[in-house]
Homo-oligomer: 396 residues x 2
């Protein structure tokens, strides 16, 4: 039979990152390609104890739950967010299956084909795919190292009337960038003027290497909770398998997302949500996050020291202040997809940067993940990678 799918499926693409992950799952390859957290420091015992608490609470823990999610966990998230300056109530927090589901549900209630979404460039590949799957016209705003450039942003807000602006202002995926506080304020003020919503995606904000600088979530500046939807997740700070993310923002918008979620899956796993509640209650998550920060910083430093051997005429990169990624730009002659094949042959993998761009891909960029591999593996993998990057074939 010839299956006649809906027209919007023409915009579906299997993620390039995902396809590469398949190739690089062979045991002998050291992969810096995925965006996985460090397995070796997962708090297994604490997670196990949290689930024991769930089952000790009795059979009602196994019944259907609310679409919006387990209330005690929403209260705990409210309290954690207030420490970041974000005010919320359990009513305008919606628990989801990772923050990926927030991106999808928000797009679902906002976007009709042809609607404009403004993003950074490069930005999170899977968000781009979601926006495009709803037929959105994704437009990149010019950015520098401090965030979106105010002039270009202003013009695009005024002329294109976007439905929302999507940003990862703190240790972005893929390029690890962090916005200055000034740019955050400018973005919000321009969005106020043009009555445009902001989707602030903050999965990495907790993983800040140096605590001296203080980056304010844009949501914390939105005093009336009128224009910013803030999403984060426990996938990076606790463990990914729990698949628990959340969103907070204007009540009316969050409630509409809950309606969409009700149709989408009724509710996410409530055993996981209850376990997370006990974990936040009984386990010192802040201490654990501190440990994650130190460990990721150590791993980043190892990777950085290898990159320093390359010489800036061939490759340029900036040391990230947090998160899980380093972003490398080669000189114009370098095609990182070609390079990837050579790297894989040499037993190491990364992700070419092109798919992260909105419509003018830079084929000379790539992303390295420093969180997943142990320090030993990073050394071994970077030995292999630097060997490939310094080959005469590339130098010519």
């Amino acid at each position: 039979m010839n299956y006649s799918f809906a027209p919007q499926t023409k915009n579906y693409e299997s993620s390039a990152v995902r396809d590469i992950l398949k190739v690089t799952q062979q045991a002998h390859i050291i992969s810096f390609a995925g965006g996985l957290p460090a397995e070796d420091i997962f708090p297994l015992e604490a997670v196990k104890n949290a689930y024991e608490q769930v089952f000790a609470s009795g059979k009602s823990s196994l019944q259907y739950g609310l679409t919006e999610g387990y209330i005690p966990l929403r209260e705990a998230i409210q309290s954690r967010m207030s420490r970041k300056g974000i005010s919320s109530t359990p009513e305008n927090i919606l628990l989801t299956t990772g923050s990926q589901q927030v991106i999808d549900l928000f797009s679902r209630i906002m976007l009709a084909p042809g609607d404009v979404v403004l993003t950074e460039d490069p930005t999170y590949l899977s968000a781009l795919q979601v926006f495009q799957s709803y037929g959105a016209n994704v437009v990149a705003v010019k950015s520098d190292e401090h965030g979106m450039e105010p002039d270009d942003l202003k013009v695009k807000l005024e002329q294109l009337h976007p439905k929302f602006v999507y940003i990862i202002p703190t240790f972005s995926n893929p390029d690890g960038k962090v916005w200055s506080n000034e740019r955050r304020e400018i973005l919000l003020s321009l969005c106020y003027e043009n009555d445009v919503l902001i989707l602030e995606d903050d999965p990495y904000g907790d993983i800040q290497f140096n605590q001296d600088e203080k980056y304010k979530p844009v949501a914390s500046l939105d005093s009336y909770q009128s224009h910013v939807l803030y999403t984060s997740t426990f996938s990076k700070s606790v463990v990914p398998a729990l698949r628990t993310g959340w969103v907070t923002g204007p009540l009316e918008v969050v409630q509409m997302m809950a309606k969409a979620k009700q149709m989408n899956d009724l509710h996410s796993s409530s055993i996981d949500q209850q376990a997370l509640y006990y974990l936040l209650r009984d386990f010192n998550l802040d201490e654990h996050i501190e440990h994650v920060r130190k460990e990721y910083y150590l791993r980043m430093c190892i990777m950085r020291d290898y990159l320093q051997r390359l010489g800036s005429d061939l490759f340029t990169w900036k040391e990230p202040k947090g998160g899980m990624f380093m972003w490398v730009e080669g000189n114009e002659n370098i095609n990182t997809t070609t390079l990837l094949h050579e790297a894989v042959e040499n037993g190491v993998a990364f992700v070419p940067g092109a798919p992260f761009y909105v419509n003018q891909p830079k084929y000379n960029t790539f992303r390295l993940n420093f969180s997943h591999s142990t320090p030993e593996k990073i050394k071994l993998g970077m030995d292999r990678l630097v060997e490939v990057l310094l080959k005469p074939a590339i130098l010519k």
Copy 2:
């Protein structure tokens, strides 16, 4: 700010069932309204042991998983389905957050505004809402006690060119009906002729009171796995909080659903999926399902005996052969929404039947759930309900 949602949100309605559930959650009300399984017979110990197995397997159990779901669980599901005559492979099984997500993902890849979906009438309210949220034109096929009527089905398949037919052929929600095997075969053969897909929703099939009759899943008749998408869930047979459902069917369709799921939420909780795998391995699920059947049959009988007091001039109903629901039709003068208010005043609740209809609601119908309340509560609740149903106000 005035939030300008996408046009399709105009089709969103908060579920009437959901709103009623809120009202009836007060402790003094005995609710036959929801569709909840019996909490008192949940296999808590077995579930607890299964999670212990997950954590004993080490830290990698907490890492990101595959979009398609945990492979050993897909293999176990394949083997369970083959016992029902449904052939599948792990490759064409997609694990989801309950079978609600299957309904949503399938609609997402199939439906554009104006596309026709054929359904039974009445049918599962939340499926109707999903189809309508994608702008589908839902058309009811005439049905009798054996299933959809072949003549009407044939005409509608040929004239309306639907994208798919949605059915719950075994112990339907809301009316508990079961299709004859003949009607299942006719449906499939007509769908073959017209090259139309079938979404077979089977959450209740395992809960069959009398094992003498054998109902064949429509998917088991579809030898080449070309036209039927079959979905079921562990929410009813194990526990709902795990939120694990699945779909199997034509590989090309399941793969497209996996792409949609990747954008929707990357993957469902893999801790839950792993726990279910160990549960199926170490726990006698068939014995447990047998226990569930017996218990639900007992509860249904208690409810049935009360309904028999009503007299068929006022209310008619059929004894269900499985599932979780009884469906009652009052005489034409009766409005069950009015009746609900009186029932709630008397400390008992049900769901009016009108929202389950596609477009010609019968206001004189209602649904009773017999699975959730204990036998004692059913007696108490039915005492209260029969009192309301036999009031002189209704008899007039």
